[in-house]
């Protein structure tokens, strides 16, 4: 997928310009940015006082306090720093499915969130994963890097296996900084999704989970005697489609989605479920805003 415009339309990008990513937690960044940092710094936002010690910058002495109390206090200001935004999105074979296409939808979401981060001078990293993290683009910052970001997102291939646990583990090991992590996947991982999310939770990150399915998965239209082939691992399920089986499948799917949501909610992970027939721009402008990821 090399056509950038296939991912994000210019009109839509303009709409995104007004948005910014919101973190429920405040993190320390590397570079001075446009966000408050835990560090005291040189911004205009007052944070606290402390006693003067020898060697402190005299410019930050509060002379009014000295006049009243005859003691030297130093004014402390909050430092504004950049935010680290990591987007881990699923490029396994199972995403290469559905109408509208699940993989494209996931990339659009990833690209849109990344763009918002870039516009707001956040440090944006992109991690496509399949049986692990298959590629990475780290540390993008500033609107100028948008074409690189879009190019990277577009050219990721779909790979056979899906292993969220390995991908999250690799991410947690390589990236000690804290920040926002957004995981976009269908969560059809036969190894389970819980272990992977647990690795992220251990890093005290602000985690968002976007669960994407296609309408063909939520409302299957298959009929007859079929050999259902898993496009990831060629696993086969022989079924004779009956009303009972379809009902049972839907029931299981509902239960599975509920389980993902419950797992996330209980651990402070923001969870958002969507199907690919929900218009993509609506997802970003409405649902993500409602969930508090952007404002």
């Amino acid at each position: 997928m090399n056509n950038d415009t296939a991912l994000l339309e210019p009109d839509f990008l303009n709409k995104l310009n007004r948005l910014e990513l919101v973190s429920k937690k405040v993190f320390a960044g590397k570079l001075r940015g446009e966000r408050r940092s835990k560090r005291r710094g040189e911004s205009v936002e007052f944070a606290d006082y402390r006693n003067y010690t020898v060697g402190d910058d005299l410019r930050f002495l509060d002379w009014n306090i000295y006049a009243r109390l005859d003691r030297l206090f130093l004014k402390l200001f909050l430092e504004e720093e950049d935010l680290m935004v990591s987007i881990i999105f699923d490029t396994s074979k199972s995403m290469d499915y559905g109408q509208p296409h699940k993989g494209i939808y996931a990339r659009q979401v990833a690209a849109a969130i990344a763009y918002i981060g870039l516009v707001n001078q956040d440090r944006v990293s992109l991690y496509p994963f399949a049986d692990g993290i298959v590629d990475e683009m780290k540390g993008l910052r500033g609107k100028r890097t948008t074409p690189r970001m879009l190019d990277f997102v577009s050219r990721c291939d779909y790979r056979p296996a899906s292993d969220l646990t390995t991908a999250c583990k690799q991410y947690a090991i390589r990236h000690p900084q804290r920040g926002i992590v957004i995981v976009i996947s269908d969560f059809f991982d036969k190894g389970g999704f819980e272990a992977g999310l647990r690795f992220l939770l251990g890093r005290d990150l602000d985690i968002y989970v976007i669960h994407v399915l296609s309408p063909q998965e939520t409302e299957p239209t298959v009929t007859g005697d079929l050999q259902l082939a898993d496009i990831e691992d060629e696993d086969v399920a022989e079924v004779t489609i009956s009303r009972a089986l379809i009902n049972r499948y839907k029931h299981n799917l509902e239960a599975y989605c509920a389980h993902v949501r419950d797992y996330c909610t209980r651990r402070g992970i923001a969870h958002l479920f969507t199907t690919t027939d929900v218009p993509f721009d609506q997802l970003i402008l409405n649902y993500l805003r409602r969930r508090g990821l952007v404002r």
Binding site: S94, Y97, G224, L226, L228, A229, E232, A237, Y256
Partner: protein, 681 residues
């Protein structure tokens, strides 16, 4: 339930069911369909397996339905018949065959008569309260064990009382009785209810028989509606070999030498080899082995019965064989018995008996005036010849001619002489007639020809009747109806040669004399036959026939059921008859010289004591082709209308295939619904 063509079921099943199963498996080559993950589908399948115990059944429901359709179609092709209990009519007439062929042992050593009784009792059990039934048993005559009754226990007791006989089957008398009783029940019944004539006429006749009824075509019911007649076919065996004729003959030249003949016939559809053993008075004399070809064309398949030679009436080639025991030295009187050593269906025809009188030359009295040629001919025969003139005969004292009431001569031959002096004996009249009731000479017949004669009769079997030419005349003799006409002229009462039996005497009456008187009063030949080669043969055959009861041949045996006049010694009050089954009959004589004994229903030797020598034993033989052919008939003709027989108890066979086809259609409909439900989820 039974099947008319069970083979078709196996064939249809073998041809259709394996391909269907194969097609079903082929059909299960499922279409491949790519999905993002089988994770949830597999879980759903497992859940369904766990939650639905009939999941496996449901997945193959279509196959099961299709198999069911094929099975029903195959069963329908097999012509299934279900025996259905039918409500019995108000009036039932149960006619049960007790003839010889009903003695055939079928399954569990039950005879056909036992089976017939069982079926009849079932019918009685199935009657409702308002029904009544009567029971008729028949063989060569019919009896009524029970008239119309609605007491089931009494009816069953009466049915049980029917005894086996070795007689032939004659149905017409039974039908006549049934008609007569049907008319009688108009008056009233034991329950006090009158039955309308219409109801009695519509009584249902149920005939329990193996179908071997000799006179079925002659039955012509007047009131009973036989279109509703139900014939329950009893029995299935057809393997039988029987003796169909038997005779014994002493050698003409050496009367102490005996020849015994019999004819055995195979009625089964398989060839048989059997031993025929000759016994004299129970003592083994000789054995012969007889090979017989099948007497029936084998059945085409298991279901159909073998076809017999009913229509042709001619036995199949090789199925009949003669058994001849020659040159057996046996001068005394006794009983000859031929026994077939076989375990076939019917035992009554495996043995035949002949009463052999002691060897003795025929004692012949010739009453002749002047017939040199006749005297010469008789003189050279091996007989004791006494010659008297007519006058001598008429004037002879009684004790010269008779011993008591019986003639002293085996045969008395009159030449041109009629007389009334006729003690019990055998008489042969040339050109004359006995002066007895019903016989009268009414004139002469001239210029006439013989138009009919019976050349199968023993008297005429070696005679060329067409070669007999009468030059002058013969006498016109009126005869009573029971006389057998052997040669008949063209005009009325032109009885040329007749045989009349009366009161133990036999009269052979030849209407022409051998000599005639010409115009000059000279004796001339009335026929050139005397010069023909067949004349001596005729004479010998005639003497043989008339004297057979006394000398050269065995006494003729009776058929089962035939009565016999038994001579008894003077001054005997009671005669005891020892039957073949070991039972005895005590018969009061009431001073008579002869009694009639008619309880000859079983095959064997009946011994009379005290008896007259030569008449103290009666041989009863079956010798009946119709009874020996035990293969049950599948179709039966009463009068000229064929009636199908049923095998099934008191039940009616209803074809089941329409129901099977209906079921098949219903299943097809269900299958269509199931298929559609499955496809359009």
């Amino acid at each position: 339930m039974n099947f008319l063509t069970p083979g078709t079921i196996a064939l249809a099943g073998a041809l259709t069911i394996p391909p269907l199963v194969a097609l079903y498996f082929l059909k299960l080559k499922r279409q491949k369909y790519a999905i993002s993950s089988t994770l949830l589908w597999k879980k759903a399948i497992e859940d369904l397996h766990v939650n639905s115990p009939f999941q496996r059944l449901r997945t193959s429901l279509l196959l099961l339905l299709q198999l069911l359709v094929l099975a029903l179609a195959a069963l329908a092709l097999g012509h299934p018949m279900m025996a259905i209990e039918r409500d019995r009519e108000k009036s039932l007439i149960l006619i049960i065959d007790q003839s010889a062929s009903m003695a055939v042992a079928e399954e569990n050593q039950l005879t056909r008569l036992d089976l017939a009784k069982r079926e009849a009792k079932r019918v009685v059990d199935s009657m409702d309260e308002n029904s009544r039934a009567m029971v008729i048993a028949f063989c060569d005559r019919a009896t009524v064990p029970s008239s119309y009754d609605n007491d089931k226990d009494a009816l069953k007791r009466k049915i049980d009382s029917i005894e086996q006989t070795d007689s032939t089957s004659m149905l017409s008398e039974a039908i006549n009785l049934a008609e007569a009783y049907s008319q009688n029940i108009i008056i009233g019944t034991s329950s006090g209810n009158d039955v309308a004539p219409e109801a009695s006429a519509s009584a249902t006749v149920m005939l329990f028989t193996d179908g071997r009824v000799a006179d079925a075509n002659d039955v012509s019911p007047q009131r009973l509606d036989l279109t509703n007649m139900e014939i329950v076919r009893i029995g299935s065996r057809s393997d039988n070999v029987g003796i169909i004729t038997m005779d014994a003959l002493r050698n003409y030249e050496r009367p102490e030498m005996l020849q015994v003949f019999a004819t055995a016939r195979n009625f089964s559809d398989k060839p048989v080899t059997i031993d025929a053993t000759l016994y004299f008075d129970g003592e083994h004399m000789d054995v012969q082995t007889v090979e017989l070809a099948p007497g029936m064309i084998p059945a085409a398949d298991d279901d159909s019965t073998p076809s017999d030679d009913d229509n042709a009436g001619v036995p199949l080639p090789g199925s009949v064989a003669s058994i001849a025991f020659d040159e057996i030295e046996f001068a005394s009187a006794g009983v000859a018995e031929i026994r077939l050593n076989t375990q076939d269906a019917l035992r009554a025809d495996d043995k035949a008996f002949a009463i052999i009188p002691p060897s003795r030359r025929v004692n012949l009295l010739l009453v002749v005036d002047d017939n040199r040629k006749l005297v010469d001919l008789l003189s050279i025969l091996n007989i004791d010849l006494t010659i008297m003139s007519p006058d001598e005969y008429e004037n002879a004292p009684d004790d010269v001619l008779a011993d008591g009431s019986r003639s002293r001569f085996d045969v008395v031959m009159f030449d041109n002489h009629s007389t009334d002096r006729l003690p019990t004996g055998n008489y042969f009249f040339w050109g004359g007639a006995p002066i007895i009731d019903g016989v009268a000479e009414t004139g002469l017949v001239r210029d006439e020809v013989f138009i009919d004669w019976d050349d199968t009769h023993p008297i005429l079997r070696h005679t060329d009747v067409s070669a007999i030419e009468i030059f002058d005349h013969w006498k016109r003799i009126n005869l009573p109806p029971e006389a057998i006409i052997l040669i008949e002229g063209s005009s009325e009462h032109s009885n040329v040669l007749s045989l009349l039996s009366r009161d133990g005497s036999q009269f052979l009456i030849c209407a022409f004399g051998l000599l005639a008187t010409d115009d000059q009063g000279e004796s001339v030949l009335n026929t050139a036959w005397m010069l023909h080669w067949s004349f001596p043969l005729f004479t010998v055959d005639t003497i043989d026939f008339l004297a057979s009861t006394l000398s050269a041949k065995a006494l003729s045996s009776l058929r089962p059921g035939q009565p016999q006049m038994v001579p008894i010694p003077p001054n005997t009050d009671t005669v005891i008859v020892l039957r073949p089954d070991g039972k005895q009959d005590r018969l009061p004589t009431a001073g008579a010289q002869k009694i009639t004994y008619a309880r000859t229903r079983r095959v064997g030797i009946y011994t009379i004591s005290p008896g007259v020598e030569g008449g103290d034993r009666i041989a009863v033989n079956l010798l009946d082709v119709n009874e020996s052919r035990v293969n049950p008939k599948t179709t039966f003709e009463i009068g000229s209308s064929p009636i199908a027989t049923t095998t099934g108890e008191n039940l009616v066979d209803e074809p089941l295939w329409p129901w099977l086809v209906l079921g098949l259609l219903v299943i097809c409909l269900i299958e269509w619904i199931v298929y559609n439900r499955r496809v359009f989820v």
